[in-house]
């Protein structure tokens, strides 16, 4: 990894203009029209008109550390992120033990030193995510937490949620809400409806999500707190958030690639790789997801990357855990399912993966301009590739997209100027990024 890198002949993600970019000392040194005289030292990457953009940011991943390193580690998760074009992730605290004190935040940040992606820890809202006693929000923020969440174990008590929203005003941390009424979910395993009925699986109604979205909108009105809705999956939630925004409430929301790509019919063969929570919903909800992305109800994308071991997923359906991996398919699913069909421009899609999530968490800006950090992705929006879970950098292979042919992928990723990912065999094709410089040519 050289100190100095030249990316030549890339297309600027916003203007579409061919540019040459110099990275030096971890930051962007300059950006200029392509074709200007090149410097002679350092690595040279021939971008061949691939698109250069700020690195993607995923504000909802499960890195499984501390405690569940057979599913994923900070290192493997970061490598998966880099392979997917990401330069920053925010990791959820539902680990074992729960990240609910400044010590674990510090531990995670130390653990993340030198991995292939920036890692921003999210702290629990309540001690042990038990939904009762608030954690030390102020100290957690000081230690480096970027948000608060009881993801996976949603706060059932409206009173506790109210107090959390109030107390969080002593920080700049948003509360990321996994919206789910656990009594309505019950023993539910998948979306409630004809497919669940046919498979004889207990259903989770949309209302399990929407009643909590509505509750928390009311609590935001009551407290002036800052809420971000995680992985919204259904029409009713989008409607509620849309109305709230119209009323001027400052809430934000994310959705994930699987909700705009799949419906509950993906579970027809009891495929545990399509088992996630919130569950894949109906066609109508899938359409509503795309609509909510288009009209700005959705503020950013996230993957809800949730790795599990093969053993955990290779069980009868009701015994297998919820969750799928997402970091390495996110960009492909975005371009294939949203950009190619014309639902979204590539520029807007990239905004939703870059600037938008940074705004939601208040992360520092990354622009394609001098002196900004060289957190960059070079991507080919036309590259066609086949998803092979065996080649994932993530330890998790639990994806419903194995064998899918996707369009669009990250060719190379730099984080703080360091090359963290490059598609193998690129140089051999004589196309796109080619690490050159001293050793190469």
């Amino acid at each position: 990894m050289s100190e100095r890198t030249e990316i030549r002949g890339a297309r600027h993600w916003r203007t579409g203009e061919p540019v040459d970019v110099t990275i030096e000392g971890g930051v962007i040194a300059n950006v200029r029209p392509a074709g200007a005289k090149a410097t002679t030292s350092g690595a040279i990457v021939e971008a061949a008109e691939a698109i250069l953009a700020p690195g993607l940011v995923d504000i909802h991943v499960h890195l499984r550390e501390p405690g569940q390193s057979s599913s994923e580690t900070v290192e493997s998760g970061a490598a998966a992120a880099a392979a997917g074009g990401f330069t920053a992730v925010a990791c959820m605290p539902n680990t074992s033990p729960v990240v609910d004190n400044p010590g674990w935040i510090a531990w995670l940040l130390a653990r993340a030193r030198g991995v292939r992606c920036r890692v921003h820890p999210i702290a629990a809202v309540t001690v042990g995510q038990a939904g009762e006693q608030l954690t030390e929000f102020v100290s957690l923020e000081a230690a480096g937490a970027v948000a608060l969440s009881d993801d996976g174990r949603p706060i059932q008590s409206a009173e506790t949620m109210r107090r959390a929203l109030e107390y969080a005003r002593h920080t700049r941390l948003p509360i990321l809400c996994h919206e789910e009424d656990l009594t309505l979910r019950g023993q539910g395993q998948m979306n409630e409806g004809a497919t669940a009925t046919r498979l004889g699986l207990r259903g989770i109604p949309n209302a399990a999500e929407t009643v909590m979205v509505r509750r928390d909108l009311d609590l935001v009105e009551l407290t002036g707190g800052r809420v971000h809705f995680c992985h919204l999956s259904c029409e009713g939630s989008f409607g509620a958030v849309r109305d709230a925004k119209r009323r001027g409430l400052e809430v934000t929301a994310e959705t994930c690639p699987h909700y705009w790509t799949l419906t509950d019919e993906a579970l027809i063969d009891f495929d545990t790789h399509a088992k996630m929570n919130p569950p894949l919903r109906s066609e109508r909800d899938r359409d509503a997801t795309i609509e909510a992305i288009g009209d700005g109800t959705i503020d950013c994308f996230a993957t809800d990357h949730a790795p599990h071991t093969l053993e955990d997923k290779r069980q009868p359906f009701d015994q297998a855990p919820f969750g799928i991996v997402g970091l390495e398919t996110a960009l492909g699913l975005t371009i294939t399912q949203l950009v190619k069909p014309g639902c979204l421009t590539l520029e807007r899609a990239l905004e939703l993966w870059t600037e938008a999530p940074r705004r939601v968490l208040g992360l520092p800006e990354v622009r394609l301009e001098p002196s900004f950090p060289a957190d960059l992705v070079l991507l080919d929006p036309h590259a066609s590739w086949t998803v092979d879970p065996e080649r994932f950098r993530s330890l998790g292979r639990n994806t419903p997209f194995g064998g899918w042919t996707l369009t669009g992928r990250a060719l190379a990723t730099w984080c703080g100027g360091v090359l963290t990912h490059m598609v193998p065999g690129l140089g051999a094709e004589g196309r796109h990024a080619r690490p050159a410089g001293a050793g190469a040519r």
Partner: protein, 329 residues
């Protein structure tokens, strides 16, 4: 593994056992009409054999079957065992209580161990929907679903069809049946839906709204507002078993009210055609989903269902064993 006996049979039943996955019977969903009718025809032959005391065949000699029951069951397990004995299979059974699952072994590992003892067919009963197809994906042995969660119970579905075939003199087309009670939790109902639909029977379901799964009409049945509406003019009624824990789960008010509103009683039976029959998959809660007078009445074919169960399982075992033999060739 599968013996020459079975190979002979496979040839003898040419046309029936074409698909490679016929070594499994995972559900009735998707089985075409002709194949169902052929299975019933075969089952009827075994029913006749069962009615001749002491008669058995060597049709499954050399075939090893394991009845793996991870959920309590008396009738289904005994029925499988008797069918296996009638056909001279080598059969063993175990139930969850004495299995390794309590020791932390996964379901798949348990079954792989069983398979390694050169078992050809596994009849599996499990509380998880999809457990049978899960095993079928990972095992070489043929898998017969003996009931998986609330998904399917195909041999029960077939015995219900065989019972109706007898009651209806072989004519299914245009008949109407009411299936009433706890549809949500019933694998019996789901297998019945698929089988009956394939044979052209109109199905109406009725029961408490709390036990009626959403989207059930997409399985090709109509939802009636009451038992009376479902049963009016029907050719048969099937009362589903009510698990008492549904009350603790807050899905029902009381057993008394259930019996009054959703129980199959004499008054409701009189709404059906004069020759209509009454079915129940068992075990019955007398006085709850079915009144004793109806259960023991002249319209009841409940004990026929049980006899037919053995016959149907003979036909299914043979079908799966023959498919296995076909694969081995």
């Amino acid at each position: 593994m599968p013996s020459a006996t079975v190979e002979t049979l496979a040839r003898g039943s040419a046309g029936l056992f074409l698909y490679p996955d016929r070594r499994h019977l995972l559900g009735l969903e998707g089985i075409p009409r002709d194949e169902l009718l052929a299975l019933l025809e075969e089952a009827q032959r075994y029913r006749a054999m069962l009615d001749r005391p002491g008669e058995s065949t060597r049709e499954l000699a050399g075939v090893t079957v394991c009845n793996a029951f991870f959920e309590n069951s008396t009738r289904t397990r005994v029925s499988f065992e008797l069918a296996e004995q009638r056909l001279s299979a080598t059969a063993v059974s175990f139930s969850a209580a004495d299995s390794s699952t309590a020791k932390g072994e996964t379901l798949l590992d348990t079954l792989r161990v069983i398979q390694s003892m050169r078992v050809d067919l596994v009849a599996v009963r499990h509380g998880s929907s999809g457990a049978a197809s899960f095993l079928a994906r990972h095992l070489e042995a043929g898998v017969i679903n003996a009931g998986d969660g609330a998904h399917e119970h195909p041999t029960q579905g077939l015995l219900d069809l065989l019972t109706l075939r007898q009651a209806w003199n072989g004519r299914f087309e245009g008949r109407r049946i009411a299936i009433v009670g706890d549809v949500a939790h019933s694998r019996v109902a789901r297998s019945a839906f698929h089988g009956l639909r394939a044979l052209g029977v109109k199905v109406a379901v009725a029961g408490p709204a709390t036990l009626m799964p959403r989207g059930v009409e997409r399985l090709g049945v109509s939802v009636a507002a009451s038992l009376e509406e479902a049963m009016e003019g029907a050719d048969a009624v099937m009362a589903l078993r009510l698990q008492r824990e549904r009350m603790e789960q807050g899905l029902l008010a009381s057993l008394g009210e259930y019996a009054r509103v959703f129980g199959v009683n004499e008054r409701r039976v009189r709404l059906m055609k004069p020759d209509a029959v009454v079915m129940h998959p068992g075990p019955m809660n007398r006085g709850i989903e079915i009144s004793p007078a109806v259960a023991d009445g002249e319209r009841s074919v409940i004990l026929d269902q049980v006899t037919n169960g053995v016959a149907v399982r003979c036909a299914v075992l043979l079908r799966c064993a023959a498919a296995l033999a076909g694969r081995a060739r």
